[in-house]
Symmetry: none
Subunit: 196 residues, 2 copies
Amino acid sequence: MAYKTEHITQQLRAAREAQKMSQRELSARSGLTQSHISQIERGTMEPGLGSLVDVARALDLEIVLAPKKLMPAIRNILDSASASSDVLTSDQRKLVGRLERWFAQHRGGFGSASEADTFKDSLALLRHLPLSAEEMDTFNEATARLERWQADPPSRQELSRIAHAVRHLRNAAVHRDRDDAVPRSAYALDEEDDNA
Amino acid sequence: MAYKTEHITQQLRAAREAQKMSQRELSARSGLTQSHISQIERGTMEPGLGSLVDVARALDLEIVLAPKKLMPAIRNILDSASASSDVLTSDQRKLVGRLERWFAQHRGGFGSASEADTFKDSLALLRHLPLSAEEMDTFNEATARLERWQADPPSRQELSRIAHAVRHLRNAAVHRDRDDAVPRSAYALDEEDDNA
DNA sequence: CTGACTTATATGGAATTATATATCAACTTG
DNA sequence: CAAGTTGATATATAATTCCATATAAGTCAG
């Protein structure tokens, strides 16, 4: 019964998750109930247009009616924006990459498999979430001896300390408010980097 | 009671009238009742999302959820299309067309697939967005040797230069404000009694 | 004026949504 | 482990939509 509108409600969920907003927070911002939102996102029911408008506004989205023949052009713009996930500094990217490569070879050094998995998952998130300069300092400090870990693996105790630091940074990045988030470029379209 | 969705339902009416379709015909195509459509257009009631989807499809419209930040660019596209399909000079149309045909045969010459895609997408946009006379000069200059590319493909370096020029023109066209837009033909749109 | 066509309204009942309030399982975090 | 979040569900009731069937009212052509 709700298959017609599935693609739209899916977009809502995607947008909410992209902004790392919980259903309850969206509920507070939009005026709808959390339960209501859950049902909409799951396709249990079709929202009224009024509800859609409320939710969209809470997510900073606008509802546009576009002629089908213009969709390629519009998709182009939408895509070029979502592609601007380039918020990470190159330092952060490099460090995460090195840690991931190192981990691929030394995951056995962890106390348990689940601890290793948590570590890997944290790294995966840190690949996508920006860290502040201060946090990067912490990150660097915790992994300062990374270069030598190849030959001389860290002790279990040190490894635990590192894992904790990484998870802490991950949590900070994940739970950062969208408002005081790291500044990002307004328009990806404006970027004219020639050497990309 | 329906103020929130007024702008959307007004768009529906505008689209229907632009296509010179009666409420009855839209009723037949969408599956909704004529009286239902009348109420929606007049704001007597708010349609469900399902009804909106049905009507939109009957009008050849797509419902898009767009980040507010991108609305200027999107409005630009929508406006330039609704203004008239004759905003583009025949020169621009021809040149874009030739480039697209040439590209279909020589996309392999690009450094990477993504670079080639970007080039193609930029062309797709330049098919819909008007360029000023000056920009057309730049465009022409960058592709002056197009006639000979069939027999003698451009070097990778020259190709990169061309791609950059095209992307630059695309960006300029996309982010141009509607107000200082390219001069339009005088009698493009006048038959609209929109009270928005 | 008649006839064809269009949009605006009214009414009433069936179907569905809106909303509040709880509860629950799965996870996270400290 | 204890506390707190998150998302999915379960009710139950109020509010709206949905839709069909008329009907009024306006326009336009012949």
